[in-house]
């Protein structure tokens, strides 16, 4: 399991980030920091927003948190190594702060998530099948850090080592929480199908 967790799940993304840091040069008239920021933004905005959206279940709050995370990245970009992991760490922490402040970690109305998605992006909502919608809801109801682990490892394809870094866990904890989360999801799906 440890060996599996340390393997990059999506090689293309890792390769892209590596190329970004070392090979790409900014066009004339663009500062290195602005260029680095925009490349990171193009590469990671979907991941960061998706994670925020699935944790918060609120499109507007997910937008706010994504913007705050990228703003902080811009302000500290000279000191940040590994943009993706850093952005997700910051965004997730901000999401959890918001959830804690509103005391709605797992007690939200299950229909709320669906309504939000439908209002925000009807095309995307329509393209998802029933299983995808159900899974989204079940994942969002998992307790932390299981929810974040499923989102980062299974959905976003991050490596176990990256997940451990983002969630401040060791690799064995990643393995245990991940299996618990999947088991919980499987049982919930079985219950809902019965």
């Amino acid at each position: 399991m440890v060996q599996l967790l340390e393997q990059p799940v999506r090689d293309t993304e890792a390769k892209q980030e590596m190329q970004t840091d070392s090979e790409m040069e900014p066009p004339p008239g663009t500062s290195q920091s602005a260029w680095r920021f925009r490349v990171a933004m193009v590469q990671h905005h979907r991941t960061v927003y998706s994670v925020c959206y699935r944790i918060l279940r609120d499109a507007h709050e997910a937008e706010d948190v994504t913007q705050e995370a990228f703003l902080k990245y811009w302000q500290l970009s000279g000191e940040v190594r590994g943009a993706k992991a850093w952005l997700i760490t910051v965004a997730r922490n901000k999401c959890l702060d918001r959830l804690r402040s509103k005391k709605r970690i797992v007690d939200a109305d299950p229909d709320f998530f669906e309504q939000q998605a439908e209002e925000r992006d009807p095309e995307w909502h329509a393209s998802r099948d029933e299983v995808g919608s159900k899974l989204d809801r079940l994942v969002s109801e998992l307790p932390e850090p299981q929810r974040s682990l499923v989102l980062l490892f299974d959905v976003q394809g991050m490596t176990g080592a990256e997940c451990a870094q983002v969630l401040d866990l060791n690799i064995n904890q990643v393995k245990v929480y991940l299996h618990r989360a999947r088991r919980r999801l499987r049982l919930a799906l079985e219950d809902s199908n019965d």
């Binding site: 399991m1 599996l4 967790l5 293309t12 892209q16 190329q19 790409m24 900014p26 066009p27 008239g29 663009t30 920091s33 602005a34 260029w35 920021f37 925009r38 490349v39 933004m41 193009v42 590469q43 905005h45 979907r46 991941t47 927003y49 998706s50 959206y53 699935r54 499109a59 997910a62 937008e63 994504t66 913007q67 990228f70 703003l71 811009w74 302000q75 998605a117 925000r120 992006d121 995307w124 393209s127 998802r128 299983v131 995808g132 899974l135 989204d136 994942v139 499923v150 299974d154 959905v155 394809g157 393995k175 991940l178 299996h179 999947r182 088991r183 999801l185 499987r186 799906l189 079985e190």
Partner: protein, 176 residues
């Protein structure tokens, strides 16, 4: 198959599904599964779940958010840094000149007419400075917005190029 085997197997379903069991454990698991159809079905469901999770699509980022993120490098600059520095310095110098003049003007009230004339003259100079700084700031903003558009095109093109390279490499691998 003992009860111990069955209990152990139930805890290994997720590991079996994601292929992370050791060869020995996998062999033992397969042996238990061959005698328990229910367990085999649960492993299959775990595999399906694993696959479905990986297929969950990213939530599309709203266009307005993408636009705001793109503008961060040009909008979030401190007023005394970057493009605002020259305009800020000019405005600060004008403010200092006005303050100094007013201070000495208050002290030198004996020749009120001369002071008034000097104050009007200084005020004119300060206004000219402010006007000049406003023009500079406007030019800098125009330049920044213009380069932002160029940056947008450059990043999009470079990302597109890479995507094309990745796709063609993928095609080659598939051909092999």
């Amino acid at each position: 198959m003992t009860e111990l085997d069955r209990t152990w197997a139930e805890t290994q379903i997720e590991a079996m599904a994601d292929g992370s069991l050791s060869p020995e454990a996998e062999k033992r698991m397969l042996a238990v599964m061959s005698r328990d159809d229910g367990l085999a079905a649960r492993v299959e469901r775990a595999k399906t779940l694993h696959r479905q999770l990986r297929q969950l699509a990213d939530v599309p980022t709203p266009r307005g958010l993408r636009r705001r993120l793109w503008r961060i490098p040009t909008s979030d600059r401190h007023w005394l840094t970057g493009v605002w520095m020259p305009a800020g310095l000019v405005a600060a110098a004008a403010a200092v000149a006005l303050t100094v003049n007013l201070f000495f003007g208050v002290q030198n009230q004996s020749s009120e007419d001369a002071a008034m004339e000097a104050a009007v003259q200084d005020f004119t100079i300060v206004m000219a400075y402010l006007q000049k700084s406003a023009v500079m700031a406007r030019n800098e903003v125009n330049e920044a917005v213009g380069s932002g558009m160029l940056d947008a095109l450059a990043v999009s093109r470079s990302m597109l190029d890479r995507t094309e390279i990745d796709v063609s490499e993928g095609d080659l691998e598939n051909d092999d």
